[in-house]
């Protein structure tokens, strides 16, 4: 079990650092009544924003409805998801809404997400807590006007060491002082990241954790995925590749299609990619971004230990790519010239006319004169017929 989960605080007092902020947070809950401004927790990742909301909902007997910004990405989603909750309190007990990563809500006017959220925040009838990593963008400035903001800061390294030593003691584990300091400094005040890295070090499992992979490009990500020694490690890599989902699917496709795996394996992998593609297509069509959370679980089906698959940018083999590049440009110039004579587009010529012309040339019904390089190409093409 991950230490970050195993030692997730059970009470507000179990948290570490940001004592003032915690106090203000608890006071806000104690004083909350209808009409109280919602709360915005701003702070870097891993300082306890989500944990604080979870603990408060439990301590103050609220049923927390937890949403991510991807659930409330646009006006329609916000109205569909939040408004029923605000209007049916008796059915749902004592609801409380927690919206994480609110700085990720679409700010473009045609989506209207921020405006719709602000309207709800202005007239909140239940406790609403928002969390954001960054509070300085324009859309956040608009949101900040209608909420009470509590800033959470990264923890000082010595306080992090105190916390880590307590956990190491409970785990009966040791890390040499030099590595310990390095771990603490690399975490930049992020407790979750520090615990993940420490656990990796202690257990001898060196997964590329969230933080380290954030900075990797897609090539390194895909290669690390296929070099993983276990499915857990592959999952960690996959979940940490924060890139555009379309790019992710394409990268897996091009890497698999150009690899030299067996036909059966290829078939299975392509089936997985097809499922991922279907899901992404559905997300794009319906704008149901909450479904995105299932994409990585589908793509995990592409993992196989000790496989030869490595990242490839192009989804065609080099031979075909070369032919497309060099022969393609020559065909383009031929098509351009002849299509003018035939009053058709060059693409229509290349797609529908050229094969017949080549057949006619092969059977000596037609004769064309090309320059030397094109002649060679035409002969090669005729030979392939």
């Amino acid at each position: 079990m991950m230490w970050s989960e195993k030692y997730r605080p059970q009470h507000m007092i179990d948290l570490i650092g940001n004592e003032d902020a915690r106090k203000s947070f608890v006071e806000w809950f104690k004083k909350w009544r209808k009409g109280t401004k919602p709360l915005l927790l701003v702070g870097p990742p891993g300082v306890g924003k989500t944990t604080m909301a979870n603990l408060a909902s439990r301590d103050f007997n609220f049923d927390m409805i937890s949403l991510n910004a991807s659930d409330v990405r646009n006006k329609k989603n916000i109205q569909e998801i939040l408004e029923p909750v605000l209007g049916n309190q008796t059915v749902l007990g004592q609801p409380m809404i927690f919206i994480d990563e609110v700085d990720g809500i679409h700010g473009r006017s045609d989506y209207g997400g921020v405006e719709a959220l602000i309207n709800i925040l202005k007239e909140s009838t239940i406790p609403i807590i928002l969390a954001a990593n960054n509070g300085s963008s324009d859309k956040m400035k608009k949101i900040k006007k209608v909420v009470k903001t509590i800033a959470l800061r990264p923890l000082p390294p010595r306080l992090l060491r105190l916390y880590l030593n307590m956990i190491l003691e409970k785990e009966n584990a040791q890390i040499n002082p030099g590595r310990l300091i390095k771990l603490i400094l690399e975490s930049n005040g992020d407790i979750r990241s520090m615990l993940n890295s420490s656990q990796a070090l202690v257990t001898g499992f060196e997964p590329s954790t969230e933080r380290t992979f954030e900075s990797l490009d897609i090539e390194e990500g895909i290669n690390a995925f296929y070099k993983s020694q276990s499915i857990a490690e592959a999952r960690a890599v996959l979940y940490s590749m924060r890139i555009d989902p379309r790019e992710k699917i394409n990268a897996f496709y091009s890497s698999i299609i150009t690899s030299s795996i067996s036909n059966l394996e290829m078939e299975n992998f392509l089936q997985v990619i097809s499922e991922a593609d279907l899901l992404y297509g559905r997300i794009m069509k319906t704008q149901e971004w909450r479904l995105l959370r299932y994409l990585d679980s589908i793509l995990l089906g592409l993992y196989k230990k000790d496989t030869t698959i490595r990242y490839s940018q192009y989804n065609l083999s080099w031979q075909i790519l070369n032919r497309l590049r060099w022969d393609g440009s020559k065909f383009k110039s031929i098509s351009k010239n002849i299509s003018k004579q035939l009053h058709i587009s060059s693409s229509t010529f290349a797609t529908f006319y050229l094969p017949y012309i080549l057949f006619c040339m092969k059977n000596n019904f037609l004769e064309f004169e090309f320059d030397e390089t094109c002649d060679e190409l035409i002969e090669k093409e005729i030979g392939l017929l």
């Binding site: 990264p154 010595r158 030593n165 307590m166 300091i181």
Partner: protein
């Protein structure tokens, strides 16, 4: 990150203390980060949450890597760090000083 001393043209919110920086007041501004009071910009020493004394930042082994203006403002001093059950001591102190 460079901080510029400016005379505030408009009211702003100090990123350190979260209080208002009034127009015409001197503030320190940095592009993309915001503004802070002159007094908030002075590098302070963190305080020990257990004994309430200065945390001894100048002698701390993390001195060069700890951005004291950005981190949570309470820490533990070297002396308190060597106590038995320091974390429990920390929790007791937080419980006493902050009603959670």
């Amino acid at each position: 990150m460079s901080w510029r001393k400016i005379t505030m043209k408009f009211d702003g919110t100090c990123i350190v203390c979260n209080k208002k920086v009034n127009a015409n007041e001197i503030g320190l501004w940095s592009k993309g980060l915001g503004v802070k009071h002159e007094k908030c910009a002075e590098i302070k020493e963190l305080r020990c949450v257990i004994c309430d004394n200065p945390a001894g930042c100048l002698q701390c082994e993390f001195h060069d890597d700890c951005d004291r203006s950005m981190v949570s403002q309470l820490c533990v001093c070297k002396k308190c760090e060597t106590l038995d059950n320091t974390f429990t001591q920390y929790q007791i102190s937080v419980k006493d000083k902050f009603v959670l």
